[in-house]
Symmetry: C2
Amino acid sequence: MEIPVYRDILEENDLKAKANSDLFKKFSILTINLMASPGAGKTALLERTIEELSPSMRMAVIEGDLATNLDQERIRKHGVPAVQINTGSGCHLRADMVSEALEEIPLAGLDMLFIENVGNLICPAEFRLGEDLRVILASVPEGEEKPLKYPVMFREADAVVLNKIDLLPYVPFNREAFLCNLYSIAPKVPLFSLSCRTGEGLPAWIEWLKLQRGLIRRA
Amino acid sequence: MEIPVYRDILEENDLKAKANSDLFKKFSILTINLMASPGAGKTALLERTIEELSPSMRMAVIEGDLATNLDQERIRKHGVPAVQINTGSGCHLRADMVSEALEEIPLAGLDMLFIENVGNLICPAEFRLGEDLRVILASVPEGEEKPLKYPVMFREADAVVLNKIDLLPYVPFNREAFLCNLYSIAPKVPLFSLSCRTGEGLPAWIEWLKLQRGLIRRA
């Protein structure tokens, strides 16, 4: 919708995102905005990541969903603070929602904050939350053409994770075609192919996260 | 966004949807708005449906995507007219887009029109296109909690299709839990569990479609 009121909403959001970003910088927190289709495995990736990085990294999670606290409960079982945002019919998180959620998270001493956006491969792309990095999660059963069909989101990715590679023997997914499609949209994006179920491919993702955290600390 | 301009957009859309609906009624066309997450298998379901119903039913398809003509090409291979709508960054189809696409489809003699919406389990719910029926496609790898997390869309469904049941042995999906979740949101919705890949479960869906077509004809 290219209407003035929408432009105003985006501008207002950018201002609030900047305030969030300033706060994250002040506390040297690496903040990741995790975006994906419904059911791609966002929460599963966070659970695996928390398992791998605890307790050396102190983490917190903000969960975005239209309804339910299911994801917050899953994260809390791993001993990590999690705040649930319910958007009702809202199709993406906004920076002001994140700002409000931050009031419930002790920021001092935190190393990483993950923001799991609403399951949607379109709308979250336009709303910055103050994050350092935008990670797009795709999954094998969704098919290899997703980067072509949802270019707005893939174009802005700082990293792409391809989840559910354990299903490759059971679904028609052409890995080479996925790579070609992805790099035609985002020629330089790092790609991590993994399975949250089996753990295959997780180490590279974890090492990349640690590296990113180190860059923040030094900045 | 509960802002007046958004309400105006919805009202304007409803008017255009009514005009589309009048046109479908005039030509006795059963029109289905097919909605799902990215990669749930919307186009695959249409391909299977066309194979089963051709040539006794005359069908056409309107394809909605942010970008590419990939789905239009897939449908045309089956000898059925298909019009592609590219929404750019738009997260759903609107009734006026459908109205424009209809100019490219010969309506006389058509039995069924399928409108494949943009892959998005949230935003398309609020925009009527003039359709007779709204069909929501879920898929096994997305997990059993989707009806709870995306209640706005499931609540309005006239039928739900659960695709990719061939993957049940390979993913953690609790079928009973899915049923409970679905019926807690939409207590009376017909559910068709099937696999577009193997063809299992397709006959019930096809028979239901024929029945729905019959109801339109008699009206």
